[in-house]
């Protein structure tokens, strides 16, 4: 028996040794400096927990480089750099930098990042609650509500005048999203599901639900939305007034989530589409843009990929009046 086990071990060892002759394409690796304008404590946290997969500088340990593990590790790093690469920090505009930090913070707070498989073998990359708090405080500090400048106010005023005079782009001419989804023009007649004050990117949002979605809300069926349910998440730039109050400024975008479990099986059962600006320009270079949507909504996979917690719309005693 012992002899048999020894032979099997030797064979496995030989196979493992031979596997080392097969290696994935080499990763580019160049030094990544600290992020400009970021406090040292925050830089340390990002470098420690994120840089291996989200910068050009990857510190590969010897065990990361063994075949077959290296195929998985390299693939994670390539994907990670595509989504967020802190080495490109200096070339990013401030809103993009803020967006990257908020995205990272939320992925960390959801426990999705750093990847549990990564921290299992790189325990030093695990973030402590105090680290997360430092990152959160700093990220929040980057997006204070500043007064809206005159140029933006004038642009919003002009857009509003065009809107009430019916001079904005006619909706019949709106191009479809790159995945073929057509614009849905009548969402303003839908019911409000909830509202959001997004101080991270300076927008106000009203989330509308179509009749099928409203029926689901009324029946408290919001964990798995039925086919035909559609949400329209509409965003306006926050206009900060002289008295500090915030009102809806220029139209920023409208995003749709269209439930059809079979038709949109490849994108988590939802059709995703977004149109930007008052010219309603479709978002995305090609149909792959929807993977970005799914990735962002991934933390909500146990809630059918929906972030919004709807208001309860069915109050019988009020409905009957």
């Amino acid at each position: 028996m012992k002899k048999k086990t020894g032979i099997v071990s030797l064979i496995l060892l030989a196979i493992f040794g031979m596997l080392q002759f097969f290696r994935p394409e080499k990763l580019s690796n160049s030094p990544a400096g600290d992020l400009a304008g970021i406090p040292p404590a925050v830089n340390d946290i990002l470098r420690n927990a994120c840089y291996d997969c989200h910068s050009s500088q990857t510190n590969l340990r010897w065990y990361d480089q063994l075949t077959p593990a290296n195929y998985l590790v390299y693939s994670h790093i390539r994907d990670g750099r595509k989504v967020l690469n802190f080495s490109k920090w200096d070339s990013m505009a401030t809103p993009a930098q803020n967006s990257a930090l908020y995205y990272a913070l939320n992925k960390i707070m959801e426990g999705e990042m750093p990847l549990p498989a990564y921290t299992m073998v790189h325990s030093g990359a695990k973030l402590k609650p105090a680290d997360i708090e430092i990152l959160k405080k700093y990220t929040f500090s980057r997006t204070p509500r500043g007064k809206t400048d005159t140029v933006q106010i004038n642009m919003a005023n002009k857009e509003y005048v065009d809107f009430i005079q019916g001079k904005l782009a006619p909706v019949t001419k709106v191009a479809p999203a790159p995945n073929g989804i057509d614009y849905i023009p009548d969402y303003r007649n839908w019911k409000v599901m909830s509202t959001t004050d997004r101080f991270d990117n300076g927008t106000l949002r009203i989330i509308f639900a179509n009749d099928i979605a409203v029926k689901s809300i009324e029946q408290h069926q919001t964990k798995n939305w039925p086919d035909g349910a559609v949400f329209a998440k509409t965003a306006w730039k926050q206009q900060v007034n002289v008295d500090g109050s915030v009102s809806a400024g220029a139209f920023w975008q409208v995003e749709f989530m269209i439930k059809d479990a079979r038709k949109y099986a490849e994108t988590a059962g939802w059709g995703w589409a977004r149109w930007r600006g008052d010219k309603l320009k479709p978002y995305g270079e090609n149909a792959l843009f929807a993977t970005e949507c799914v990735s962002c909504h991934q933390p909500m996979k146990d809630n059918d990929f929906v972030f919004t917690k709807p208001l309860n719309l069915l109050i019988p005693t009020l409905q009957n009046k």
Partner: protein, 158 residues
């Protein structure tokens, strides 16, 4: 062998049972919704949304709703001369941090509801509802609030 079979059956049952246990999901934001004892003439949350806003100094956020007449008027007029029968509701919530997205606030609880109803002479009747449940309450300056509410512009959507 028998013990092993029983063990396998028990394990399989446990796995099947646990996979049938559904996670609750987020559910509804009941705390931020209206309630059956609220003394409002109708459910404003079912009306059209005209606009939304935030009052950071009070940590509140509001949505301005309107009935058909008010909604149609607000979408095509830049003044506040709403027609006879137009009804506006401004619902104001205390804010809370969005548990699903660090960087956002969402409604926590309704603080008060203000209602404006327009008559044929162009005059609007202002009513304030406050408390738990929401009941008619005296307003400090109804004329001022009526002007502020009616003066709000519809949020643009192409």
């Amino acid at each position: 062998m028998k013990n092993l079979s029983i063990g396998v059956i028990m394990l399989t049952t446990m796995v099947l049972f646990s996979s049938c246990q559904s996670q609750p999901g987020l559910g509804l934001n009941d705390a931020a919704s209206l309630h059956s004892r609220d003394e409002l003439p109708e459910n404003p949350l079912l009306l059209h949304a005209i606009t939304s806003g935030v009052q950071p100094k009070d940590s509140t956020m509001y949505t301005l709703y309107g009935n058909d007449a008010a909604f149609i008027y607000a979408g095509s007029h830049g003044d506040s001369s709403y027609p006879d029968g137009a009804v506006l509701y401004e619902v104001t919530w205390q804010q809370q941090a969005d548990e699903q997205w660090a960087g956002a606030h969402v409604p926590k609880k309704i603080v008060y509801v203000e209602r404006l109803e327009y008559a044929a002479d162009g005059q609007a009747t202002y009513t304030l509802y406050r408390g738990t449940p929401l009941k008619k309450a005296a307003a400090a300056n109804p004329a001022l609030r009526a002007g502020v509410i009616a003066g709000q512009r519809m949020a643009v959507s192409p």
